[in-house]
Homo-oligomer: 297 residues x 2
């Protein structure tokens, strides 16, 4: 790849369940950034991305674009296979549609892989050779970076850290299997467990901040599962740095991170371990990573 | 690396808990292979490896040697950090000692990584880009091959599949943590559980072959844990092929593999999956892989 130091401008697009974003990366700097709500349906999504792109470009010319999107993806065909948070994009040829709309070559990347790439080269894992990125928000995703590149794997499922089984026989996950990390430690899993434990929907982070006992138990449970998963991955992937991002991880603050780290250390007795760091690039990570992915083209 | 097609001869050495082996790899062919018991203690091990090497070489000249050994290893310093099955080799500078004894540059590789490399290039995963190797014997090890190369990771712990946590709170593992795959599905774990369930040590594989109910439950339990671990790894690493080796996996025959595969498929509903294949290179895998590792030098 041209690498993060490349001086050619590339366009990054980030397609999320609630927001889309676009920006232009020039060298190591994001020189523009626009965000808007995600519309429903494939055609509307492509239209909104193209409009955001035009606004972010502001007349600037770029050589390529990258788009980060929820997966799993079919990288060879540039197709979104399914994305629970984006109804209407099942088996959707996003790459071809965007190339037609933008008049640019487009690289499709998994959104978590894009964020992983951004944090690896320009964020919290800068300088590392191998890193692991885990995003804890509504769901749990991740990206594996080996030698500075995204490890997509044979079927484009590489880095699906949210679907590591951490509680065999545990709650049914959206993916159809039981006890996935996402099913026990994501924002949606916390909401589900809180609604059951309190008998009504409650704001877990707020209650946790007020030291409510049930909220503490819920957050400690999620942190424990996350620490266990990260410890397992340390022994198999052995990253140099582990980066945690996403609204739940970042919103949980120091108290949540401390609990994750305690569990992680507790499960790595006798093993060497990578430092855990919070993501640094915030909501711009997806756009930066998509733009970095475009530099491989 | 020169690759498996390289025509220069390299020496492969395999240091195991019970046996050491040596052989010469010429192109894709292992042209000699010798085996002997592993003596106790670092100096005796080096002496025995050097003697086996001389016998395998038979006067032939080679440009480099590789040695596969239980780990974790410190690759930078060429040191065996600890190896539960090789007492006396704690923090042992195996690379330097072997280089002195052989008069050759020596590449140190984890034994499971070496077998993974051998199966990837010349065995059951031949032709794949990414593959995962899991060896189930007294313990459980593994190797991760990304783009044809061993993924050693940041601390040399890469591929330690036996220490993926599959049963949180489960039996204490030799590594000091609970519920590792090795602690519930290795040969030693089966022996431990069988001794408890029968009240005396029993030969589980023989009883399983005779359809004994407890032995079936033990084997099915181990197969279930293995299937779960492989499914988790499919979602994070996404290999093209998964290769199973080791005495327990190979000795368990078709019935054991069928049960592992059933669990693996059951945990991958909705996901794409790599085929499971039995290792093909048998007891020569370690020597072949060590010789292949030497070609990177």
């Amino acid at each position: 790849m041209g690498g993060p130091g490349s001086s050619s401008a590339t366009l990054g697009l980030d397609l999320g369940g609630t927001k889309i974003a676009a920006g232009v990366l020039l060298g190591e700097e994001l020189v523009s950034f626009v965000e808007r709500p995600t519309p429903r349906g494939g055609a509307a999504v492509v239209g909104a991305l193209a409009e955001a792109a035009r606004e972010a470009l502001g007349g600037r010319s770029v050589v390529a674009a990258g788009v980060g999107t929820p997966g799993p993806l079919d990288f060879d065909r540039g197709v979104v296979r399914f994305a629970p948070n984006l109804p209407g994009l099942k088996n959707f040829p996003l790459r071809a549609r965007l190339e037609a709309a933008l008049g640019l070559p487009v690289v499709l990347e998994n959104d978590a892989n894009a964020a992983a790439l951004a944090e690896h080269h320009l964020g919290a894992a800068r300088g590392a050779r191998h890193s692991l990125f885990v995003t804890v928000s509504t769901g749990i995703g991740g990206g594996v970076i080996v030698d500075g590149r995204v490890h997509r794997g044979a079927f484009g499922q590489g880095g699906e850290v949210g679907h590591l089984t951490v509680l065999p026989g545990g709650p049914l996950c959206g993916c159809g299997n039981r006890g996935c990390l996402e099913a026990v430690a994501s924002g949606r899993a916390l909401e589900r467990d809180a609604a059951y434990a309190y008998g009504r929907p409650v704001p877990v982070p707020e209650l946790f901040a007020r030291n409510d006992a049930k909220a503490r138990a819920l957050i400690e449970g999620a942190a424990g599962h996350l620490g266990l998963a990260l410890a397992s991955l340390q022994r198999v992937f052995d990253p140099e740095v582990i980066v945690l991002g996403g609204g739940v991880a970042l919103g949980g603050g120091a108290a949540f991170l401390r609990r994750i780290e305690a569990a992680y250390r507790g499960h790595l007795r006798g093993w060497r371990r990578a430092p855990l760091r919070l993501a640094r690039l915030g909501r711009e990570a997806g756009v930066i990573g998509a733009a970095l992915a475009a530099r491989t083209a």
